[in-house]
Symmetry: C2
Subunit: 158 residues, 2 copies
């Protein structure tokens, strides 16, 4: 069904917000990640830097629920339409990883920061999980650093 | 600005319809392709199979006009928001390369075919260019095999 051989066992996977169409991130999948994604209905990628499966949300609690899986014409790229639990945000604090636009010779931030990325980075993994879980009950619609993160991307996993 | 070293000189580039948000295709860029894209305002990719620059539309006349260039948090993926001249279609005859959805164990075509992909494949390159140019003047909104193609993707270039 998919051609994992073309790029050494990994294929790119694009995650798109199922409701808004916003492109949230691009990550990588090996066969195991793809099969687990299909089986569980939650996005699972392969972290090139950590060289292991990356179950999105396994630390933060903010999973990507998969609403649709699409395969391109060459069978070497996956498009996931997802619902990002927690509101979709990059580890840098933005909803999408593509929060910078090229304007002239400069990259300009074109999105509002939803949370302070240093907040979770300072916390331990166990604390982070607790905070994220609490966040799912206390989330508000206001945009500010008090709102808790959901990782659409995470440095070191791409 | 971009980290081309992470994946051997190539980074993935996602093309998204600037108006509808539909993800059209994923292709690859080397530094030269990226710089030419920025300079010309037309999408230029790098064909892994042909091992050379792939100026989209150079054969069909159906370019991708770039409306916005976005860089992800890790600076190793590009998102292009584009206007697909000719109406956006995969070489298989669909608007987007992601025209198949996984349902159970099967891939099902979920989009309507806009043109007959064998039509242009049978034509010579010069005829194709002529046909595509004519198409830009005679295009209608009806969906049928008579409508002329614009390649959002093209087998052999990914």
């Amino acid at each position: 069904m998919l051609d994992f051989d073309k790029a050494g066992g990994l294929i790119p996977a694009v995650a798109q917000d199922a409701d808004t169409g916003e492109v949230l991130m691009l990550a990588w999948m090996n066969r195991e990640a793809f099969e687990e994604t299909v089986r569980t209905g939650r996005a699972v990628y392969f972290s090139r830097s950590r060289n292991k499966l990356w179950r999105k949300g396994e630390e933060s609690g903010h999973f990507q629920e998969v609403r649709g899986i699409f395969i391109d014409c060459d069978a070497d790229t996956v498009l996931l339409k997802v619902k990002q639990i927690g509101g979709a945000a990059c580890h840098e604090g933005y909803k999408s990883c593509f929060f910078r636009q090229l304007e002239g010779d400069e990259l300009k931030v074109i999105a509002e920061r939803i949370f302070d990325p240093t907040y979770l980075h300072r916390a331990s993994a166990s604390t982070a999980l607790l905070v994220a879980t609490m966040g799912s009950f206390s989330r508000t619609s206001s945009i500010g650093f008090a709102q808790l993160p959901s990782f659409a991307c995470r440095r070191g996993n791409s």
